[in-house]
Amino acid sequence: MKAIIAQMRKDLFTLWPLVVLWWLVLIAATASTVQVFIRTDELTDTYTSSVWPLLTGLVCLFSAVIFFTQDAGLDSRAFWRVRPISGFGIWTSKLLLLFVVIVIPGAAAQWWLTGYTLGYDIWWATAEAAAWLLLVVFVGALAGALTGSIALSVVTLAGIYVAVWAFFSGLTAVLGSGFMTPHREWVLWMPVIVKVSIMAGLWLLYRYRSVRRTAPLIVIAALSAWYAIGPDPWWLNEFQKPRSSQYKRLLETQPEILQPPDYPISAAVRYVGDEEMPGGPVVQLLAEIQLPNISIEGLSINSTARLHYPDGIQYLGRSGIAAYRGFFSLPHNASGFAAESDINIDPLYISLAEIPARSYNDIRHELAEMELELSIRESLIFDTVDVAFSENPIEIHGKRNYKVQVTILDSNRMKVLIRINGLAYGRALSPWVFIYNPVNKEIYSPPGGGGTAGGSGQREMLFARPKGFRVQNERKFDSSGADVRPWSPSERNSLGYRKISGPVGKDWLANARIKVYLSTATKPIVHTVKLTDFRAENWKKADW
């Protein structure tokens, strides 16, 4: 014990600047994240798109490595090797110190960021962070012994690997959310691999080719590379755009990744023949999804449609839809309710594209020979919370590992706070709130979007009374609230609910209910349908 204390004292006296640096970076990162979070209400995006994860990751990594390599590890030149100092004592003291000055403050900051959620998960998170850190320091100690490029690059590789995993995803995040997170998708691992390769290369360059003048340039290049690629790289969206050959190959080689959905998908064409519409009548290309027996709470689908021409691919666009038990929302600013008891949206139509009717008339023969490819990412809702408003000023609903707190602040303002006791690593959960008034048949959804960080965190939404209600969507509503446009196939199921935006008052809230959805994404689905399968629903050629 005396030896361990002596070792800890020596390390602390020697490395206190590093410890202070780590704390400063941690405090700055936490404060910055909170500040931006307050402004933007986006914890996940704020954190992962900023430079702070990089800084905290690097400082933590290098702190850990320096902690263990400063005594030269297992090198025969190490000071302790020929002293009455046991390796066990050194490692034990270093682990203890590392845990106290690096891991615990990091976990505390994380805990604070995630809204004081002192659930069991934070301890799992701490344990996991410590485990990953252990791996780094073991490799770091080895590097101290070899002092060669191979070991040092291994340190870098392992460090970045651990940093990415520990700070953006983490195994316990998966455990916390109860679902497999999309981090295991290989497309999301690609930036990690690229990042690791670039950083390892730059590290080697720094080690063997840097002089005093070029060292800062190399460091800046490394930081830029990290930042440009980022945890959510700009090119990832491009990468994720489906290419027919790639998906076909994937379907052949990895069917378990790109598993087709259980429910059949076909395509439909619908003619919207309103001559008064701006731009004239249109033809809607619709994906028709049969939902014969939905046992899940609901699903949301983001689809990407492509038309394959003989001489290439034309990208048509993306659309999204969410359908939950008892409720579904439509893309393009339309929302609606199904019967409370069931989804009753069979079939479900997703509008893929709208083509001016005349154009469609010109190309319809060609389209008949084309192939439509759908890339659908479904999200399973794994829980919902239904909160009824009452005269009580605060309604709290707790269930499983989350808590929803609704606070009516005064007659004009209401606050909804969602806290999820998980880990702030990654983006495992996406909470969303809809408030609906069954009397007025109006739906209110708060501005903003996104989810929590990897199954933990909090979202706070403030509702305040505006000067007047504002109809959000571009469609015209008459005084009774009826849409002057014909209902779309999906809209027919909405039972006349319309979506409003902006704050709502106490009277409105008094009769309102709130639904909170916590969803997590599952595997992407690719479905290819022939245009020859299209049914010309509601379309009569003579109409136009």
Partner: protein, 302 residues
Amino acid sequence: MKYAIEATALSKRFWRKTALSNVNLAISPGTIFALLGPNGAGKTTFLKSAVGLLRPSSGTVSVLGIESRLLKPRDFNEIAFISEQQHLPGRMRVGGLLRYCAGHYSNWDEAYSQALLDQFQLSRRDRIGALSRGGKARLRMAIAMTHQPSLILMDEMFSGLDPIVRDDLMDALIALAQDCGCSICFASHEMSEVERLADKVAFINKGRLVCCESTERLLDGYRVIEVSGSPELLEQASRYAGVHKLAGNREWLRFLFEFKSTGELQELEGRLGSNSHVQIQPAGLRQIFRHLAGRERPEVLQ
């Protein structure tokens, strides 16, 4: 008898390179022992094997009766190993490092530590990274001596140091050896230190133990002889057994003469006869070292 160091058929190979080959060596307690040999001869390997930093490929080496593989951290209370290559925590101050050591050594003598610092003109406030080469050497020596070990092993401690630092270190070592009777084994290229310090020397060359003698007997077994006379006589003298030519021309010859007994020296004097002028001087370790290392290089004939 428990030797300070005892090597039995010690061999060490690094892949295909043999660093030590079948070395048998025993160093008695209280001996100041010098390991001599050219660069790459295996001196450092021997010392590192002795303190357990390297594992012998075959054979054994024991220090203070403990086989090197079985050395425990607590055994280093009685053993000190000093090497210039050894890391020192540059960010620490001298006082901090001594406090750190005091927390680990059971026989740490704080008063003696301060006395050594004073003797070596080191301050506890000195930052280790800012110390000169000589300062670091003195610090290593102070740490090694403070716990008054039974055995001190030193690897190239004196190389590159100025004469003042070398004298300081040697004086301290001699005092420690006299006061405590500790054994010292050191590898060095500095022949003056070896001659001054060592009771016994061993020559290692290409991993093999070439010679192990007391310094006195080794020096007694060699003479440097300078002969002047006829060319025929000089030619004849250079062919005698035990003669290793150092320099010469047609009129004179200087050579190192290796002999087992004084009779051999007298016989050589007799052979050279009265027609020549013979001057006999004691040999230095440097000349013997060059001879044993197989690096004799005759000076250019003038």
